[in-house]
């Protein structure tokens, strides 16, 4: 008859032995068990002789499983289990439950192996069963933990997606609102613009005596103010509509230098701001000239607004591999650190008269061209933005 052995780990190179805390008050069984359980290469066994000791052990180091005999010197296994849970031990807890017949075999064999050499076979069987039970319980416990982790991860994912959806929904509402506002406000604004123009024409064609009466009362000045504010309202509506609409660039070949020159011609640059152009050479971009004008216009306007007390506006165009890189730098007040993460978010603004859509729109427009926009640096010395667009 073949002598049975102890189960061995199928892959000892794995190297991990499950840490078992074996709580048992019978010293004979304890020594025997430790020896036979460890023969498997799967387990590493620490023996504790009573419940109190076991409770102290688990606080010192962690075990993968606790195997406990039912009757201990100071308590029973149930009390031990309750106490373990009370101190936050959640590891698998197994009962060393063997029939009395087997227990007798173990005690006899432990006391005199030579005399009970016939029982060796049974001893192997008893411990193999225990080893299997222990390994299974640890693996089950670990699998359950992993599942819990997955579940928690899934929950987090759902939560995150929900948040993203809520944001998307909010922007969709802004989009709808913008379209509505754009539609409803455009026409009245157009009428006001028309009337303002008529007013100017009529004043300019008036008899000088009549006109001077108006000037005396400061009337043209008041109308001028109205015109400025209407222009501003128009810009808000444009920004909102820009943000809301789908962008389909009508791509042609654009010379960014010409676009820049056109913008600089059209916007009024305060006398205390010096413009420096550092253009390495003529580079062409494939893009929508109208949309790219808006991009650069927005960035240049921002730069100028950051330099209320004057400064230097630097515009740099260079070629970096497949891209044309446009840098817009100012020597203005800089962006406060707490705003940095939000500057490209819609509706975020630090300007008293900003819609908070400028940079958000700019980013959308650049990205619609397959380009990128980055804040290169900002400090109290100034700010630099970089726009990269595919070269033609």
């Amino acid at each position: 008859m073949m002598k049975p052995g102890i189960l061995k780990s199928p892959d000892t190179s794995l190297g991990e032995r499950f840490q078992v805390l074996f709580v048992i008050s019978s010293p004979d069984i304890a020594v025997l068990s430790q020896k036979y359980l460890e023969l498997s290469d799967l387990l590493s066994v620490t023996v504790s002789h009573n419940g109190q000791e076991a409770l102290a052990f688990v606080q010192k180091r962690s075990y993968d499983v606790i195997l406990s005999d039912y009757d201990l010197d100071d308590m029973d296994a149930i009390t031990l289990h309750i106490n373990l849970e009370r101190i936050g031990q959640k590891k698998p807890f197994l009962l060393f439950s063997i029939p009395d017949r087997d227990r007798d075999i173990l005690i006899d064999y432990a006391q005199d192996p030579q005399k009970h050499v016939d029982s060796e076979h049974d001893v192997y069987i008893i411990f193999n069963e225990q080893i299997q039970k222990i390994v299974q319980s640890v693996e089950l416990f670990r699998a359950r933990n992993r599942l819990e982790l997955y579940a928690r991860h899934l929950e987090e994912l759902v939560e995150e997606r929900t948040k993203q959806l809520q944001i998307a929904e909010r922007f969709a509402i802004i989009g709808e609102l913008a379209t509505m506002i754009g539609h409803d406000m455009r026409n009245p604004l157009q009428v006001i613009t028309n009337m303002q123009y008529l007013l100017e024409m009529k004043i300019s064609k008036m008899h000088p005596d009549d006109a001077s009466v108006l000037v005396k009362h400061g009337i043209p000045e008041i109308f001028n103010r109205i015109r400025t504010e209407v222009l501003y309202l128009n810009k808000i509506v444009s920004d909102l509509q820009d943000y809301a609409r789908d962008i389909h660039p009508e791509v042609s070949i654009v010379n960014p230098i010409l676009v820049m020159d056109e913008i600089l011609k059209n916007i009024s640059i305060p006398d205390n701001i010096q413009v420096i152009k550092r253009i390495e050479s003529d580079f062409l971009i494939s893009g929508d000239p109208f949309l790219l004008t808006r991009v650069l216009e927005n960035l240049i306007n921002n730069a100028i607004q950051a330099m209320e007390k004057g400064g230097i506006l630097t515009l740099k165009i260079s070629r970096v591999k497949e891209n044309v890189c446009i840098m817009i730098s100012d020597t203005g007040v800089g962006i406060p650190p707490e705003s940095l993460s939000k500057i490209f978010e819609p509706l975020y603004t630090t300007k008293p008269k900003g819609t908070g859509l400028g940079l958000a729109v700019t980013k959308r427009l650049v990205e619609a061209h397959g380009g990128t926009i980055t804040l290169v640096n900002t400090s109290s010395e100034g700010t630099t933005f970089e726009v990269t667009l595919p070269a033609s």
Partner: protein, 147 residues
């Protein structure tokens, strides 16, 4: 001899826009008719002469582009300017292909509008002279061939 006033038709469903644009154009010395729907506009185009028409791209009874196409069939020589919003840029390109002579973006700067109108009317004037020359040339040739 007093200069003949150029006639302009404005089609827009917003009455305040119609009225204020009319006032601007009249102040500039044009004779102006208005229509609040594409249908009304087409009626006027069929029954009266206009040098130029302004069409809003969005009208209650018909797309502005369709009005454009129909108007172009009736009066190919009438200059046609589409007034379009941002969102309708694609339509504007279509408009140019469908016979529009120009488009102007909202919000319309009255100065730009007047400039564009003048530009198109001048163009029309030149075309007319060229056409006149051609007719004269044609008649002359026919006359010669008869002899």
């Amino acid at each position: 001899m007093e200069k003949i006033m150029k006639r302009i038709l404005i089609v827009d469903d917003d009455l305040a826009i119609l009225d204020s644009t009319k006032q601007i154009l009249e102040f500039e010395g044009y004779e102006v008719e208005t229509a609040a729907t594409a249908g009304e506009g087409l009626e006027k185009i069929e029954s009266q002469f206009f040098n130029l028409a302004l069409f809003d791209i969005k009208l209650p009874d018909m797309e502005g582009t369709e009005l454009l196409e129909r108007a172009h069939k009736i009066r190919p020589d009438m200059k046609k300017i589409m007034v379009t919003g941002y969102a309708s840029l694609e339509n504007s390109v279509f408009s140019l292909n469908a016979g529009a002579d120009a488009y102007i973006m909202k919000p319309v700067n009255p100065k730009d509008l007047l400039q564009k109108i003048k530009e198109k009317l001048d163009e029309q004037e030149r075309d007319k002279i060229i056409d006149g020359d051609k007719v004269a040339e044609f008649l002359e040739e026919r006359l010669l061939s008869i002899r």
